[in-house]
């Protein structure tokens, strides 16, 4: 039997949990093979060099083998020097990781989204505006995990979205003109164009994307969103 061996695959750790006395199970997001689970044997021993590296938000190169649901990690290297995420940006990082776990199926490659994720972490490290960085990634995730979101056309009325009208989101998660709608046409078009400079647009984007994500997750709660809100409330 030939074993599937992968060498030095660019990856980030999304989450890790202890396994038995000295091992870890890590959820990784790899560039070419998508999300996968890896068993890291013996890395929790005092002399292990890998444990310090097997943490979220560190650019890594992973080598592993196996075809099954749980693959075996054989080597881990630091891909490049990096600035650690700190403060609020770090909490946002946890939220990104949970989104990826919730939206991507295992072993389903998403190289473009991997690039978006790297860019998003870079923006967070450089102190980019957190809300806009998160909204941008949420849009990328929705689009690239196969759902797609079009906010520029009212299908029900067969008309392009008018910046001066109001809309709500219909069952298909697309805009429908309504006098008591909660989204302005102007904001929908700005969100579609990823223009988050205006605070009103940003606020509407937050509520709209929250609604869309919740619909797509069928009510499955996002733990990190709850924790993030608790943290912000107390600071």
């Amino acid at each position: 039997m030939t074993e599937n061996r992968v060498f030095l695959q660019p990856a980030y750790i999304l989450q890790q949990r202890d396994y038995r006395e000295s091992s870890l199970i890590v959820e990784a997001f790899t560039r070419d093979f998508g999300r996968l689970s890896l068993l890291a044997k013996g890395v929790r021993k005092a002399k292990s060099k890998s444990q310090g590296l097997l943490q979220p938000f560190i650019p890594l190169r992973l080598s592993y083998l196996g075809k099954a649901e749980l693959k075996t990690l054989t080597d881990v290297e630091l891909a490049e020097p990096f600035q650690p995420l700190t403060g609020l940006a770090l909490y946002c990082g946890f939220y990104l990781n949970e989104l990826i776990e919730a939206f991507l199926h295992k072993d389903d490659p998403h190289p473009e989204l991997f690039a978006d994720y790297c860019q998003c972490l870079a923006d967070l490290r450089q102190g980019g505006p957190l809300e806009a960085v998160l909204r941008n990634f949420e849009l990328n995730l929705i689009e690239k995990s196969g759902y797609g979101l079009q906010l520029a056309y009212d299908m029900q009325h067969g008309k392009p979205v008018d910046p001066s009208k109001k809309y709500h989101l219909g069952a298909e998660l697309s805009p429908v003109e309504a006098t008591e709608g909660i989204y302005t046409g102007k904001s929908l078009l700005a969100i579609q164009a990823r223009n988050f400079g205006d605070p009103d647009v940003l606020a509407e984007a937050k509520s709209l994307l929250r609604h869309v994500l919740d619909q797509l997750l069928h009510g499955k709660p996002l733990n990190s969103r709850k924790v993030l809100n608790e943290i912000i409330k107390r600071l």
Partner: protein
Amino acid sequence: MRDTGLLGRLIQHLRCLPGVGPKTAQRMAFHLLQKDREGARALAETLLQAIDRIGQCSRCRTLTEKPLCDICADPARDKSAVCIVENPSDVWIIEQATVFRGLYFVLHGRLSPLDGIGPGELGLDQLERQLATNGIKELVLATNSTVEGEATAFFIGELAHKHHVQASRIAHGVPMGGELEFIDSGTLLHAFNGRRTI
């Protein structure tokens, strides 16, 4: 061999201990029953008493059988300095290895957003009340050097600033006697980022 009687149950329950697999559990069970029945009875009785009586200190949340643990009750301890740790075992380790003479606060975990563990689960409301009223002047953040440990330290540091309490993070990095050649790149990077002027 699958023994579903008392012996089998004993072996099964011994496996709840960390590092104890089926083989070790079997050896332990036979040892207790064949060679040390006296010790086994003492162990069982002590275990029951410990479970019944050991709870959390009302001030620092460490494990104790009293309302206030020995450290918190000691009048010689400096009540203006509080060291934040993830686990009660960390208190023991710091007590044995350092000259810290302040008090502790035990989180029983760390911020873990993906697992839904936030400030409420770690007793941070209680810590904040202490910061507001207990005359604390300094917090020492001794959470682990993991991403979640850092996230926890940052948040508690912010709480401290809010209450005008000075907070410091313990240094992480190159171990004593450690040669750079043998240190993993993650640790070295951490040590580099945490460098200080001399």
